[in-house]
Protein backbone atom coordinates (compact mmCIF):
# COMPACT_ATOMS: atom_id res chain seq x y z
CA UNK A 1 0.00 0.00 0.00
CA UNK A 2 1.36 3.39 -0.97
CA UNK A 3 2.09 5.59 2.03
CA UNK A 4 0.20 8.84 1.79
CA UNK A 5 -1.15 11.54 4.05
CA UNK A 6 -3.75 9.26 5.64
CA UNK A 7 -1.15 6.86 7.04
CA UNK A 8 0.83 9.67 8.63
CA UNK A 9 -2.34 11.16 10.12
CA UNK A 10 -3.28 7.77 11.54
CA UNK A 11 0.09 7.45 13.28
CA UNK A 12 -0.31 10.98 14.58
CA UNK A 13 -3.79 10.20 15.89
CA UNK A 14 -2.63 7.02 17.63
CA UNK A 15 0.27 8.84 19.27
CA UNK A 16 -2.04 11.62 20.43
CA UNK A 17 -4.44 9.08 21.96
CA UNK A 18 -1.53 7.43 23.77
CA UNK A 19 -0.49 10.77 25.22
CA UNK A 20 -4.06 11.53 26.28
CA UNK A 21 -4.42 8.15 27.98
CA UNK A 22 -1.13 8.75 29.78
CA UNK A 23 -2.28 12.14 31.03
CA UNK A 24 -5.56 10.72 32.32
CA UNK A 25 -4.41 7.40 33.78
CA UNK A 26 -0.93 7.97 35.21
CA UNK A 27 -0.42 9.53 38.65
CA UNK A 28 3.18 10.62 38.52
CA UNK A 29 3.49 14.29 37.60
CA UNK A 30 6.66 13.72 35.59
CA UNK A 31 5.13 10.93 33.54
CA UNK A 32 2.08 13.10 32.92
CA UNK A 33 4.46 15.75 31.64
CA UNK A 34 6.12 13.25 29.29
CA UNK A 35 2.69 12.27 27.97
CA UNK A 36 2.06 15.94 27.22
CA UNK A 37 5.28 15.97 25.19
CA UNK A 38 3.99 12.93 23.32
CA UNK A 39 0.80 14.80 22.41
CA UNK A 40 2.78 17.82 21.21
CA UNK A 41 4.91 15.52 19.06
CA UNK A 42 1.83 13.92 17.54
CA UNK A 43 0.56 17.36 16.51
CA UNK A 44 3.99 18.14 15.04
CA UNK A 45 3.89 14.97 12.95
CA UNK A 46 0.46 15.87 11.56
CA UNK A 47 1.67 19.38 10.70
CA UNK A 48 4.79 18.14 8.91
CA UNK A 49 2.76 15.58 6.98
CA UNK A 50 0.24 18.21 5.87
CA UNK A 51 3.08 20.54 4.95
CA UNK A 52 4.75 17.86 2.81
CA UNK A 53 1.65 16.70 1.00
CA UNK A 54 0.35 20.21 0.30
CA UNK A 55 3.69 21.51 -1.01
CA UNK A 56 3.71 24.31 1.53
CA UNK A 57 6.52 25.09 3.97
CA UNK A 58 4.42 27.13 6.42
CA UNK A 59 3.50 24.04 8.42
CA UNK A 60 7.14 23.26 9.07
CA UNK A 61 7.75 26.82 10.30
CA UNK A 62 4.87 26.32 12.73
CA UNK A 63 6.45 23.07 13.94
CA UNK A 64 9.71 24.93 14.51
CA UNK A 65 7.91 27.44 16.71
CA UNK A 66 6.04 24.67 18.53
CA UNK A 67 9.32 22.95 19.38
CA UNK A 68 10.72 26.22 20.75
CA UNK A 69 7.66 26.95 22.85
CA UNK A 70 7.58 23.35 24.09
CA UNK A 71 11.16 23.66 25.29
CA UNK A 72 10.28 26.85 27.22
CA UNK A 73 7.17 25.18 28.60
CA UNK A 74 9.10 22.14 29.79
CA UNK A 75 11.67 24.25 31.61
CA UNK A 76 9.00 26.28 33.42
CA UNK A 77 6.89 23.21 34.20
CA UNK A 78 9.80 21.26 35.63
CA UNK A 79 10.80 24.24 37.76
CA UNK A 80 7.23 24.29 39.09
CA UNK A 81 7.40 20.58 39.88
CA UNK A 82 10.69 21.06 41.73
CA UNK A 83 9.24 23.97 43.73
CA UNK A 84 6.16 21.88 44.52
CA UNK A 85 8.30 18.96 45.61
CA UNK A 86 10.28 21.20 47.95
CA UNK A 87 7.07 22.27 49.68
CA UNK A 88 5.12 19.02 49.68
CA UNK A 89 7.69 16.21 49.25
CA UNK A 90 5.58 14.46 46.66
CA UNK A 91 5.08 14.26 42.92
CA UNK A 92 1.88 12.27 42.94
CA UNK A 93 -1.26 13.95 41.75
CA UNK A 94 -3.38 12.14 44.32
CA UNK A 95 -1.44 13.74 47.16
CA UNK A 96 -1.89 17.23 45.72
CA UNK A 97 -5.53 17.91 46.47
CA UNK A 98 -5.37 21.09 48.51
CA UNK A 99 -7.39 22.94 45.86
CA UNK A 100 -10.21 20.41 46.08
CA UNK A 101 -13.45 21.93 47.31
Amino acid sequence: MHVGLEQYLTVSFLLFSLGLLGVIMRRNLLVIYMSLELMLNAANLALVAFSRFNNNLNGQILVFFIITVAAAEVSVGLALIVALYRKRQTAHVEDLTSMKL
Binding site: L18, N28, L30, L45, V48, R52, N55, Q60, V76
Partner: protein, 178 residues
Protein backbone atom coordinates in the same frame (compact mmCIF):
# COMPACT_ATOMS: atom_id res chain seq x y z
CA UNK B 1 21.79 14.85 1.68
CA UNK B 2 22.36 13.42 -1.80
CA UNK B 3 22.54 9.90 -0.43
CA UNK B 4 19.33 10.36 1.54
CA UNK B 5 17.59 11.73 -1.53
CA UNK B 6 18.74 8.75 -3.58
CA UNK B 7 17.55 6.39 -0.88
CA UNK B 8 14.20 8.16 -0.65
CA UNK B 9 13.90 8.33 -4.43
CA UNK B 10 12.58 4.80 -4.92
CA UNK B 11 9.03 4.06 -3.91
CA UNK B 12 9.36 0.75 -2.07
CA UNK B 13 12.11 1.62 0.42
CA UNK B 14 10.46 4.69 2.01
CA UNK B 15 7.18 2.83 2.39
CA UNK B 16 8.83 -0.01 4.27
CA UNK B 17 10.81 2.49 6.34
CA UNK B 18 7.59 4.34 7.17
CA UNK B 19 6.02 1.24 8.61
CA UNK B 20 9.18 0.38 10.56
CA UNK B 21 9.49 3.87 12.07
CA UNK B 22 5.77 4.18 12.73
CA UNK B 23 5.61 0.83 14.52
CA UNK B 24 8.70 1.68 16.57
CA UNK B 25 7.29 5.10 17.48
CA UNK B 26 4.00 3.65 18.65
CA UNK B 27 5.63 0.76 20.51
CA UNK B 28 7.93 3.09 22.43
CA UNK B 29 5.00 5.48 23.01
CA UNK B 30 3.06 2.65 24.66
CA UNK B 31 6.08 1.82 26.81
CA UNK B 32 6.33 5.46 27.92
CA UNK B 33 2.88 5.51 29.44
CA UNK B 34 2.38 1.86 30.45
CA UNK B 35 5.50 -0.18 30.96
CA UNK B 36 4.58 -3.63 32.32
CA UNK B 37 8.05 -4.20 33.78
CA UNK B 38 8.90 -0.94 35.48
CA UNK B 39 7.10 2.01 36.97
CA UNK B 40 10.26 4.03 37.22
CA UNK B 41 10.04 7.49 35.56
CA UNK B 42 13.60 7.03 34.26
CA UNK B 43 12.41 4.14 32.09
CA UNK B 44 9.61 6.29 30.73
CA UNK B 45 12.10 9.05 29.91
CA UNK B 46 14.37 6.59 28.08
CA UNK B 47 11.50 5.29 25.97
CA UNK B 48 10.49 8.89 25.27
CA UNK B 49 13.96 9.39 23.78
CA UNK B 50 13.44 6.39 21.50
CA UNK B 51 10.00 7.68 20.48
CA UNK B 52 11.44 11.06 19.59
CA UNK B 53 14.34 9.62 17.63
CA UNK B 54 12.12 7.37 15.54
CA UNK B 55 9.82 10.32 15.00
CA UNK B 56 12.82 12.20 13.63
CA UNK B 57 13.12 9.28 11.20
CA UNK B 58 9.52 9.92 10.12
CA UNK B 59 10.42 13.59 9.61
CA UNK B 60 13.30 12.55 7.33
CA UNK B 61 10.88 10.39 5.34
CA UNK B 62 8.74 13.52 4.94
CA UNK B 63 11.83 15.38 3.63
CA UNK B 64 11.83 17.70 6.67
CA UNK B 65 15.56 17.40 7.26
CA UNK B 66 15.97 20.55 9.31
CA UNK B 67 13.14 19.66 11.64
CA UNK B 68 14.51 16.14 12.10
CA UNK B 69 17.80 17.62 13.25
CA UNK B 70 16.07 20.14 15.52
CA UNK B 71 13.89 17.38 16.94
CA UNK B 72 16.91 15.35 17.98
CA UNK B 73 18.90 18.37 19.20
CA UNK B 74 16.16 20.05 21.21
CA UNK B 75 14.05 17.13 22.40
CA UNK B 76 16.51 14.28 22.80
CA UNK B 77 19.34 16.63 23.67
CA UNK B 78 17.79 19.26 25.91
CA UNK B 79 14.28 18.35 27.04
CA UNK B 80 14.99 14.76 28.02
CA UNK B 81 18.21 15.73 29.79
CA UNK B 82 16.16 18.25 31.76
CA UNK B 83 13.63 15.54 32.61
CA UNK B 84 16.37 13.18 33.76
CA UNK B 85 17.98 15.92 35.85
CA UNK B 86 14.71 16.60 37.64
CA UNK B 87 13.98 12.90 38.17
CA UNK B 88 17.41 12.35 39.69
CA UNK B 89 17.09 15.54 41.73
CA UNK B 90 13.75 14.57 43.24
CA UNK B 91 14.89 11.02 44.04
CA UNK B 92 11.43 9.60 43.41
CA UNK B 93 10.56 6.24 44.75
CA UNK B 94 8.96 3.83 42.32
CA UNK B 95 5.33 4.55 41.78
CA UNK B 96 3.37 2.09 43.85
CA UNK B 97 0.95 -0.02 41.95
CA UNK B 98 -2.16 1.62 43.20
CA UNK B 99 -5.46 0.34 41.97
CA UNK B 100 -6.35 2.01 38.71
CA UNK B 101 -9.55 3.88 39.25
CA UNK B 102 -12.58 2.98 37.19
CA UNK B 103 -13.07 6.68 36.58
CA UNK B 104 -9.70 6.98 34.84
CA UNK B 105 -10.38 4.11 32.46
CA UNK B 106 -13.87 5.30 31.60
CA UNK B 107 -12.78 8.91 31.12
CA UNK B 108 -9.82 7.83 28.99
CA UNK B 109 -11.89 5.57 26.77
CA UNK B 110 -14.59 8.19 26.30
CA UNK B 111 -12.13 10.91 25.33
CA UNK B 112 -10.17 8.63 22.97
CA UNK B 113 -13.42 7.43 21.41
CA UNK B 114 -14.52 11.01 20.87
CA UNK B 115 -11.25 11.91 19.19
CA UNK B 116 -11.45 8.75 17.07
CA UNK B 117 -14.94 9.69 15.89
CA UNK B 118 -13.82 13.22 15.01
CA UNK B 119 -10.73 11.87 13.24
CA UNK B 120 -12.62 9.35 11.11
CA UNK B 121 -15.40 11.79 10.26
CA UNK B 122 -13.02 14.56 9.23
CA UNK B 123 -10.87 12.12 7.25
CA UNK B 124 -13.91 10.97 5.29
CA UNK B 125 -15.70 14.28 4.95
CA UNK B 126 -12.95 16.63 3.83
CA UNK B 127 -10.87 16.71 0.73
CA UNK B 128 -7.34 16.52 2.07
CA UNK B 129 -5.94 18.13 -1.07
CA UNK B 130 -3.00 15.74 -0.87
CA UNK B 131 -0.65 15.46 -3.79
CA UNK B 132 0.50 12.03 -4.79
CA UNK B 133 4.04 13.10 -5.68
CA UNK B 134 5.04 16.02 -3.43
CA UNK B 135 8.19 17.88 -4.31
CA UNK B 136 8.74 20.16 -1.34
CA UNK B 137 12.03 19.94 0.57
CA UNK B 138 12.33 21.17 4.14
CA UNK B 139 16.03 21.93 4.02
CA UNK B 140 17.79 24.48 6.17
CA UNK B 141 18.09 27.02 3.35
CA UNK B 142 14.42 27.01 2.40
CA UNK B 143 13.20 27.15 6.00
CA UNK B 144 15.72 29.81 6.98
CA UNK B 145 14.73 32.01 4.09
CA UNK B 146 11.08 31.81 5.08
CA UNK B 147 11.89 32.28 8.77
CA UNK B 148 13.85 35.49 8.26
CA UNK B 149 11.52 37.13 5.74
CA UNK B 150 7.88 36.28 6.24
CA UNK B 151 8.12 35.05 9.83
CA UNK B 152 10.69 37.41 11.30
CA UNK B 153 8.25 38.96 13.80
CA UNK B 154 7.14 35.63 15.36
CA UNK B 155 10.80 34.65 15.47
CA UNK B 156 11.64 37.70 17.58
CA UNK B 157 8.60 37.19 19.79
CA UNK B 158 9.71 33.61 20.45
CA UNK B 159 13.12 34.87 21.52
CA UNK B 160 11.41 37.16 24.05
CA UNK B 161 9.33 34.19 25.22
CA UNK B 162 12.50 32.18 25.83
CA UNK B 163 13.95 35.07 27.85
CA UNK B 164 10.77 35.28 29.94
CA UNK B 165 10.82 31.52 30.52
CA UNK B 166 14.44 31.72 31.64
CA UNK B 167 13.72 34.52 34.12
CA UNK B 168 10.67 32.63 35.38
CA UNK B 169 12.63 29.45 35.94
CA UNK B 170 15.35 31.31 37.85
CA UNK B 171 12.73 32.96 40.05
CA UNK B 172 10.86 29.70 40.64
CA UNK B 173 13.92 27.78 41.66
CA UNK B 174 15.01 30.26 44.29
CA UNK B 175 15.18 28.87 47.78
CA UNK B 176 12.78 31.25 49.48
CA UNK B 177 9.87 31.98 47.20
CA UNK B 178 8.16 35.17 48.28
Amino acid sequence: MEAINNLLGGSAVPDVLFYVFAAFTLLCGVLVIANPFSRNPVTSAMFLVLTIISMAGLFVLLHAFFLAAVQILVYAGAVIVLFLFVIMLLDLKEEQRRRIKMFGIVAGLISVGTILAIFLKSLNATNLNAQSSPTIEGGTAALGKLLFTQYVLPFEVVSVLLLVAMIGVILLSKKDLK
